[in-house]
Amino acid sequence: MAEEVRTASSRDGAREAGERPGEAFALGGRSWRSRLIVGTGGFRSLEQMEVALRASGTEIVTVALRRVDPLGQGSVLGVIDRLGLFALPNTAGCYTARDAVRTARLAREAFETDWVKLEVIGDDRTLLPDAVELVDAAETLVDEGFTVLPYTNDDPILARRLEDAGCAAVMPLGSPIGSGAGIRNPYNVRIIVEQASVPVILDAGIGTASDAALAMELGCDGVLLASSVSRAEDPERMATAMRKAVESGYEARHAGRIPRRLHAQASTPEEGVPELD
């Protein structure tokens, strides 16, 4: 159902050539041009981060909160402000709803935004979300007026619970954070997309450009990635690849792909073949 609505709206868009690819991406009551959200973690330097963010075309980047380091070098916010990007705070490192809620409140004060990428993880080996704590934190934060973007398992039921709780999007993982293992359960991602009436953003597990394109082809509204760019040998080049992949996957999704067939179907007419015996 949701899938049909999305497809229809994309066709009705009657886009000007200059506006392509991609109609505006509505998220959290705001309109964005880029469907790629980039995490700022893992870059080898702020300079490298800056060129990669620029190449990615992203408008939203995630940041984290930690104890102030008196010897802190450089300012991640300085780069973000210079590029005119929106800083989306996360609750990385939180294991309980209580910690995540408190971190989100601190982030709201620090960044003057009520948007939060909600992460509540179960353990530090898998970094997989703790579903029970996640829903608990989401409910509290929505009640407090936050725009909640939850990092979640690729579980359609949990995604529905988060949407019911009032989250502004659901962000299922493709595979564990930083694993680069791609989208391990595309069927679940499709089900999540099919049933969701909020944006679905594939978050975590992207390894290379084809993973990002697949996410979009599955019908996701956006992709959030970090390590695949920041830890690539050439982050600027991988950022460029990710920008193109997200755009390509989105276009392909809405272009109406051909059905898969078991046998060949010639694209060249079979009539009029000369006899050359």
Binding site: A64, D69, A107, E112
Partner: protein, 69 residues
């Protein structure tokens, strides 16, 4: 003097120390966006840093933006 726990360290501050003093001691630049403070787990808004007194044995966390996914 009062003794507080500041970002995990025991520190001594003046008897009438305010939240702003703890921020300065922690190395936070109180003028810059991206810094926030919790006292005993509760956020103290920036506008209250100068007038909010700290008490003995309170736990103060001063946090700032870092790179993160």
């Amino acid at each position: 003097m009062i003794r507080i726990e500041l970002n995990g360290d025991r520190v001594e501050l003046d008897e009438d120390a305010r939240v702003a003093d703890a921020v300065a001691r922690a190395g936070g630049n109180s003028g810059s966006r991206g810094v926030a403070v919790a006292v005993d787990g509760e956020v103290v808004p920036r506008s209250d840093w100068e007038r909010t007194r700290l008490r003995d044995e309170q736990k103060v966390e001063v946090v700032g933006a870092i790179q993160g996914g």
